[in-house]
Symmetry: C2
Subunit: 302 residues, 2 copies
């Protein structure tokens, strides 16, 4: 790609295209920062929404057999919130890197502009010489036209010689302009060649840097994507692990709706109060049927 840039050709806009293109490099850097800033904001919003979702899960009814599942939802949503919060942080770090690069870019461009002043002068000099060249060419040609006309009209020899002298002088002036123009051209070519290379180096370094920044962007997103995948896998596993039997067991443990059934009640012979307290207690227990006690509410309609 050496010498990809040079300023001539059918539709060239010249030195200033390359000169101004540096500015577009700075614009691109700022736009990339803006893009990443927007992405960071999106991830922050997503993270907050996931925290809200975790809150909804934690507000799930603690009653009923399904209750323990809400914890699985809550944990998963909280973890997703963290993943996206981390991505937001990484995006913010990246914005700092982009801004830092932008500052370096400004310095490099300022330095480069000083370095290419010579080329700018050479461009202007070539423009001046070009204009002289055009005039000299027109002058020479108009003298030739005049000489040809006089020859056709058959004017006196003296007048013809005068016109020939004028034509010769115009030819010399034209040749001199060509000489000067070509000298300016060689100077321009050498300086422009150096500047074009400089501009190209700047562009290549710029694009290399931008691609590095984009790589950091996509690495961060990729890391988060892997983490999010792990959170999903965990969620699936947790749902799988909480079996239906498990949930029903937890419920019966919690509510005490166990398997014990009431045995039949037998006749209880009266015993004198001399009998020990302990044996009295154990007998009394046989009559208590907790499922039917006063503290149990009557069923009502839902």
């Amino acid at each position: 790609m050496l010498e990809a840039f040079f300023v001539l050709g059918e539709k060239n806009a010249g030195f200033d295209i390359l000169y101004h293109n540096m500015k577009h490099g700075q614009i691109a850097t700022k736009e990339l920062a803006e893009f990443v800033r927007e992405r960071a904001a999106i991830e922050e919003t997503y993270s907050k929404s996931m925290s809200k979702l975790a809150k909804i899960a934690s507000n799930g009814s603690p009653l009923g057999t399904f209750a323990p599942m809400w914890d699985v939802f809550r944990v998963s949503s909280d973890k997703l919130a963290l993943c996206h919060l981390e991505l937001m942080r990484k995006m913010n770090d990246l914005i700092r890197d982009i801004n830092k690069y932008n500052e370096e870019q400004v310095k490099i461009h300022r330095k480069t502009k000083e370095e290419v002043i010579g080329t700018l002068e050479s461009v202007q000099s070539l423009q001046v010489q070009n204009s002289h060249l055009q005039k000299a060419r027109e002058g020479y040609h108009s003298k030739c036209v005049e000489l040809e006309r006089l020859r056709k009209e058959g004017v006196p020899q003296k007048e013809l010689e005068k016109a020939e002298l004028k034509s010769k002088k115009a030819a010399e002036s034209f040749a001199g302009s060509i000489e000067k123009f070509n000298r300016a051209g060689r100077d321009f070519e050498q300086k422009m060649s150096e500047s074009a290379q400089k501009f190209q180096d700047i562009e290549e370094a710029h694009l290399r840097q931008m691609k590095l920044l984009i790589k950091a962007y996509s690495h961060s997103i990729e890391d988060t994507h892997v983490q999010v995948g792990q959170v999903h896998e965990e969620f699936k596993q947790n749902v799988e692990n909480i079996g239906i039997e498990n949930l029903i067991q937890k419920f019966t443990d919690q509510k005490g709706t166990g398997k014990e059934r009431p045995g039949p009640v037998g006749f209880e012979e009266y015993l004198s109060p001399l009998v020990s307290e302990n044996s009295k207690k154990s007998r009394a227990k046989a009559f208590r049927i907790p499922g039917l006690g006063k503290r149990d509410k009557e069923p009502d309609s839902m």
Copy 2:
């Protein structure tokens, strides 16, 4: 897990725990729908934000060597927007499934409540018999205490016989209450056993259905996660594929800042106008140096 539910045991709250637990099943279904609705809203917001991000990318400056990269950002962001929009749609479909299940659930619970009315009556009957049993037991024991006291006091035989008769009658009444209580107990046990099994079947079917709905939820999220991964991979590949040389080449093609250099200008002999127009044009062209024309602006400071 057969007979996981029965209503007796140390801390039982009885029939009504199982009866009311159906209501918690409906609450869980509604809460799951609410959770998924929130998730759908989150994905919709994320999708819209990604479209906005794509817009930012498409507004990236079309000037400069970096310009073609914006298309890579735009395409990727647009695709991410689509992925999350699809997830939102799947969540909305899931909400419909959850609501449909909730309607079925309401019907099943209504039917079940009718079916367990007999058990409810049996519970009430057992409570009544239990209360009679307690009274009969107390009556019998108080008569025994009275008889014992009279014996100790050595009251006349006639009075003692009267008390013995009372005690015997109280014992018969107590035995009758036991008989009735045990009959009610057997009826209760049979009906409660059926109802407990019914409640357990309902719980198991409910949890099975809820787990199916959760599976649909996590499958949709997983699908989207895979798609998002593909979009990221594509983005990375596209960035990789647009080489720095490529970008510079595109720029030089677009701007025409090619490699062509100005050749030296030579002396141009004047030719008579008789020479064809075509050859005149081609000569004139040799003097045009487009990079230095009037239409090119002077470089200005950034």
